[in-house]
Amino acid sequence: MSNSDHDHDHDHDHPHKPMVDEITDFEVLEIALRELCIEKGLFTADEHRVFTEYAEQIGPTPAARLVAKAWLDPEFKKLAQTDAIAASKAVGVDWLDPTGFGAPSDFVAFKILEDTPTLHHVIVCALCSCYPRPILGNSPEWYRTPNYRRRIVRWPRQVLSEFGLQLSEGVEVRVEDSNQKHRFMVMPMRPSGTEGWTEDQLAEIITRDCLIGVALPKPGVTNNVTPLVRPAIRGVTA
């Protein structure tokens, strides 16, 4: 209902609820701070643009590609295990980008955790939201929540089962709490039913959730576990 309809119902001077479409407190604060930084010469508008372009192009595609390559090429798999930073270059990710010393919050220390028939990894940052952004993009909202962080370190099997992943007693569950400068990603096992598949076909089933360790790759499954998406008020424009 429009504002005038609303007024019609209430002729006392009760304060109106702010309209959803007004500029938010967060937008005001971000704009004010950015303007002051540029005016003070802390950084230039150009530098801000360069980093924005970097931030807009990161996503899980290179990470999936890296794992698919490792599944197909034992030599590359060895490189992924011993020097994940070098292996990232093969899928177009230079961890020194875009500053020459990396994305500052992500550092240049990356490890790939290989699952085996008796070992399953899952990652978390129980202290904040450390995540291998340069190769996996921004973390999903649930990964950052206190809820996931509180529980995965203590009740990993229960949390994994909430994602639909039941692991048998014979599989060691190893939680990797990435709370310092290392960033981690899981290399799941190649599932059966993918014999003869190309790198492209394999990459499609290596979802972001598989690389976090809350799901396993499965032929025919190309989506992340939860379909729930909370819409933005004024989202990032593509």
Binding site: D21, E39, T52, N138, W142, T226, R230
Partner: protein
């Protein structure tokens, strides 16, 4: 423009925030506070691992434009040597206190940390920020009707005399933590050593979670050399480097009544200062 009624309503809202133990009054006298309560208040609020909680639905979220811009703002400030990311983590995740930590959106704390650092390090003053907030708000009266708010800096400042850290120059072409390689001396522990996490009374900042304090584990990897976050967070460029280790714990050692199989494990990374040898 704020009315007395609106002021009263906002104060009533703040007063509903519950931040103290129900069994103890607000502003307790020293004899009313136990050691455990003191530790609980002093605990860094970002350290949530193992806290009791019930299953929530796992949700994705579309990113707001201001959230992306906030991430970029923080990273560009680090790129240009105004801070290192560890300063941001303390200010936005710990210094905010528990009610803000749990009460406001994730990226709004990143944003809060930018305002705090700029004022604290004297790049801007309180009035500059406050006036600018009012000014930006005034540019967009009423509904936006599809318009997108935009930053409109009045001019581009001269950055040549701006005080910056050495790190943003030294690490270029090398990376962090690579820039600290060879600066920590000999590592105290080696692969396979059994260690115990020291139970230190950590105040103000740490990244050693409470759930491993006092627990025994095994060195799974010598990770790298770096100043500890307990120093980096205070912008101490003179801080000495130390070795970091990935330590492996058995879940059944970490948690009382761990219900999973005996061989489930957890690994986390810890700086040398937090570890002591276990003499077998």
């Amino acid at each position: 423009m704020v009315t007395a009624a609106e002021r009263a309503e906002q104060i009533a809202l703040v007063s509903r925030l519950k931040t103290f133990y129900p069994e103890v009054a607000e502003w307790p006298t020293p004899d009313e506070i136990t050691h455990d309560h003191w530790l609980a208040y002093m605990k860094t609020p970002h350290d949530v691992g193992g806290e009791l909680d019930y299953p929530h639905p796992y949700e994705n979220k579309e990113e707001e434009e201001w959230e992306l811009m906030t991430y970029v703002l923080c990273e560009v400030l680090a790129w240009r040597g105004i801070w290192v990311s560890e300063e941001r983590r303390r200010i936005g995740n710990v210094d905010v206190g528990r009610s803000i930590y749990l009460g406001v959106p994730y990226y709004s704390r990143w944003l809060w940390s930018v305002g705090r650092i700029l004022i604290e390090k004297k790049y801007i003053d309180w009035a500059e920020l406050t006036d600018r907030l009012a000014e930006v708000k005034k540019r967009y009266p009423g509904a936006l009707n599809g318009r997108r708010p935009e930053a409109q800096p009045k001019f581009a400042g001269d950055g040549s005399a701006v005080k910056r850290n050495k790190h943003h120059i030294r690490a270029v072409g090398v990376g962090d933590p690579q820039v600290f390689a060879g600066t920590a001396g000999k590592a105290k522990f080696k692969l396979g050593d059994r260690v115990r996490v020291r139970d230190l009374p950590a105040m103000f900042y740490t990244r050693t979670p409470e759930y491993v304090r006092g627990a025994e584990g095994v060195i799974a990897e010598l990770a790298y050399e770096s100043p500890a976050p307990e120093d980096e967070t205070w912008d101490r460029e003179d801080a000495k480097s130390e070795w970091f280790y990935i330590v492996r714990f058995r879940q059944s050692d970490l948690w009382d009544n761990y219900t999973g199989p005996n061989n489930d494990t957890l690994q986390t990374e810890l700086p040398e200062r937090w570890l002591e040898a276990i003499n077998v």
